[in-house]
Amino acid sequence: MPRENISLAAILWAVIAFLVIYPLSVLIIESLRIAGTNEWGFSNYLAFFRDTYYLKTFWNTMVLSTLVLLTTTIFGIPLAYILARYRHRGKTVFTALILLPIVLPAFAGVFAFIIFFGKYGTLNLLLMQFGLTKVPINFIYGIHGLVFIQSLHLLPFIVLSLSAGFTNIDPSFEEAAEVEGASGFRRFITVTLPLCTPSYLAGAVIVFLWPFTDWLTPLILGKVDYLPSVAYINIAYHFTDMNRKHMGIVAVVVSSIVCILLFVLARRWVERKKYTGLSKGTTSEGRVIEPGPIIRYGSYLYMIIVSFVVLLIPIVLGLSAFSRRWVFEPFPTYWTLDNFKLILLESPLLIKNSFLFSGIALIFGVVFGLLAAYVIVRTRIRGNQTLDFIITLMLAFPGMAVGVSYMLAFWNGIPLATHWIIMPIALFARRLPYFLRMAHSSYLQLDISLEEASEVSGVGKFRTFLYISLPLLLKGVLVGVVMFFIMAFQEISTAIFLYKGGWETLPIGIYLNWHRGMEFGIAAAMAFLMIVITFILLLIISRIGGGILKAAWGPGEK
């Protein structure tokens, strides 16, 4: 075992220990502390599970998760099938639109839909204007609204994983079913769908876990009886009530445990069930069907409806960003650039902060990610699979848990949180797996003999990495860089617990300005700006990567 590899792994482990293991231990220990004393025990947990209110929030979250998963599955199956199997015009555009919510900040959807679907939002005002209804219809306030908003945000995960499944099935499995007498729907139910379950599950687990981490959507909609929202309220608003604070911490730990447990279980199951066919001489494109006219127009209509709902988010935010005091009118009447003037010229601090923090986090992420990918793929140091496992777990870990644990760990113990550097560090830790997974999967595809050839020619390991590996990995690395930046740029769940005056980022600014009521034009302008920046970055990715985006972010692939 070369010595430099060992020291490399040691450095990586030190980073993980400092940024993941240490704060999480502090979080768990704090959750065991009996409020106001220095005694320890499980009494917080007992109190939590004995309190009917907290039990209700737990149960509510479970119900919400189930409903969101059901909704995304019902809407996602036809969508994935259309995208994977039918040959139709405008496939790339529709795919991009349907997948867009993955990169849009989750809160953008909430704000846009309140403006559009709210009690006196655009849709209700239009309906009343045309006399279709006398009293406004409640489109979003309630569990149905939560299910709708979260489902739209999560639909891409189901579509991506299912369409990967539909594409990867060996065509002869379906042909055999047809020859055996099963046509159409029956074939789909007995052969196609069961063969897709492993890749479906990989996406489904991400969908199911989301209500356990999303505190913001229920809070904004005024339905706070869900685990993450209650945790946020208890910790952020009631920090002086030691009991409530500890209940909040317990709630964070409980939702984290649920997330980690389900994530690990699903992963195990997928690994075990992976159906590998003896693909030989089959096309990589999978089975593509020319649909008949009815199905074709039906699927166009379906894709257009979904795309329209997705597009509502940037359109509505754009309308309110360029207007002022848009209330009780279906469309804005007073157009202005004041909102942008304010955020760009008068207080550009938030934009500066966002770029600075995400940029520094990105540098950490790239250095760490490249080294970790090397150690995981190219060395056999003991524990490198554990390293990979811990980093991957961060995918399932609630952002709030990272935020709260950093708040606890780096305030008293190691006083890092008094300096702004905590912001990029937290972003880096939170988005740890995003760059690594990209680097990891491109590294796996890099034939080791290309590197060996360089070493045999007398070039050392480090230069080989620089001259051979890095240029060949470049495409995947660049896509990973952009993806990491997008995800860090829109981070709010962790940052909201750590920022101090002067450290606000754009997402935090949006959240705060929304609270100021009539200033939602400013919030909308910030959100619109974020969407534009994200969109430009996405264009760059698709220029570099093309299909890579889909391949790398299909949650079924590892």
Binding site: D170, F173, E175, E178, V179, A182, T190, L278, T282
Partner: protein, 360 residues
């Protein structure tokens, strides 16, 4: 009327013609093989019979029922059994469920389905493995599951698409005989696709040789080996020496012709009936390596005798291969392993006029 009739079948992918207007007949109970190199259209033809491809033109009739001309009949309605190249045994179903799948779609009582499935599994030698998942079976066993599944409904026609190409050489040879005897026992009409000439010769009653979407020759294994229709068939099946030359004269009454080659002015060769050869045509005088007689001294026979030198000798166990140079041309000769000749020896080759043929 043949059991399967294919008329003027055309299948194009864009501008590429995969099947170019072919006709085929398969008699009831016959095992017909489509043989050819990859891309010759054999698999496409088979998939057209199964209904997995929609041909642009032509007609397919099975047992008197039109499958194309009177509207396209879906694969699920054709009542055929098919074995796929990669088995296509569904990994999420146990062996028994795989085999019973097609029966469950028919209205048959449950216990009868199980009974029938077990019976067929027994027949293919998988008795006792019905509760296994495919991942727990070897490649050869999965192949048998695929075969059982194709046979279980007693289909009118059995289609086999290179079913043995994923097996190792020893198992492949064993399975050839098993498939043949099983299909013959059931009296099933079958179409078999392969690129392996030995497999085709062992397994089929008749062989159809295809090239670039066309049928080149149809006949028994013996016909095709001994009287290949052209150079392509002769080259694809077995080994053949091709000596380019020109027709000097055609002897119509004896079905033979004299060919002038680079090393011999007057080589007497058989001609295939029906070929319209005339003086001056560019042809190949052809002979199989095992039909060339070799001797160290000049033999008594006068016809088709040439002198040469052994340039290279290859030992292949049960026989020897000599590469003999005759005026700059190499002729391959196959002789028994005990022939005591070495490299560099000057010898005489006798190209038996009965075995030497003219090919275009």
């Amino acid at each position: 009327m043949a059991f399967i009739e294919i008329r003027n079948l055309v299948k194009r992918y864009g501008k590429v013609v995969a099947v170019n207007n072919i006709d085929l007949n398969v008699e009831k109970g016959e095992m017909l093989t489509l043989l050819g190199p990859s891309g010759c259209g054999k698999t496409t033809t088979l998939r057209c019979i199964a209904g997995l491809e929609k041909p642009q033109a032509g007609e397919i009739i099975i047992d008197g029922r039109s499958l194309l001309a009177e509207g396209f009949v879906q694969p699920s309605e054709r009542g055929i059994g098919m074995v796929f190249q990669n088995y296509a045994v569904w990994p999420h179903m146990k062996v028994l469920k795989n085999v019973a799948y097609g029966l469950k779609l028919q209205k048959i009582p449950k216990h009868k389905i199980r009974e029938r499935a077990l019976q067929v599994l027994d027949m293919v030698g998988l008795g006792g493995l019905e509760e296994r998942y495919p991942a727990q079976l070897s490649g050869g066993q999965q192949q048998r599951v695929a075969l059982a599944r194709a046979l279980v409904r007693n289909p009118k026609v059995l289609l086999l698409d290179e079913p043995l190409s994923n097996l190792d050489a020893k198992l492949r040879e064993k399975m050839r005989f098993e498939i043949k005897s099983l299909v013959r026992r059931m009296g099933m009409t079958s179409v078999y696709v392969t690129h392996d000439q030995a497999e085709a010769m062992v397994i089929s009653d008749r062989i159809v040789v295809m090239d670039s979407g066309n049928v080149v020759q149809t006949g028994t294994a013996q016909d095709i080996y001994q009287m290949p229709a052209n150079r392509f068939v002769a080259d694809f099946i077995g080994t053949m020496n091709f000596m380019s030359g020109e027709i000097i004269s055609v002897e119509a009454e004896t079905n033979s012709a004299y060919v002038k080659t680079e090393f011999n002015d007057k080589l007497l060769c058989k001609t295939t009936d029906g070929t319209n050869l005339k003086q001056g045509d560019q042809v190949f005088a052809s002979i199989r390596p095992e039909d060339v007689e070799i001797s160290p001294d000049r033999p008594e026979t006068s016809g088709n005798l040439v002198a040469g030198t052994i340039a290279h000798k290859a030992y292949l166990g049960n026989f020897l291969f000599f590469f003999v140079t005759v005026k700059g041309i190499t002729i391959r000769v196959q002789v028994p392993h005990y022939v005591p000749l070495e490299e560099g020896a000057d010898i005489y080759l006798s190209l038996n006029p009965e075995k030497c043929m003219v090919l275009v």
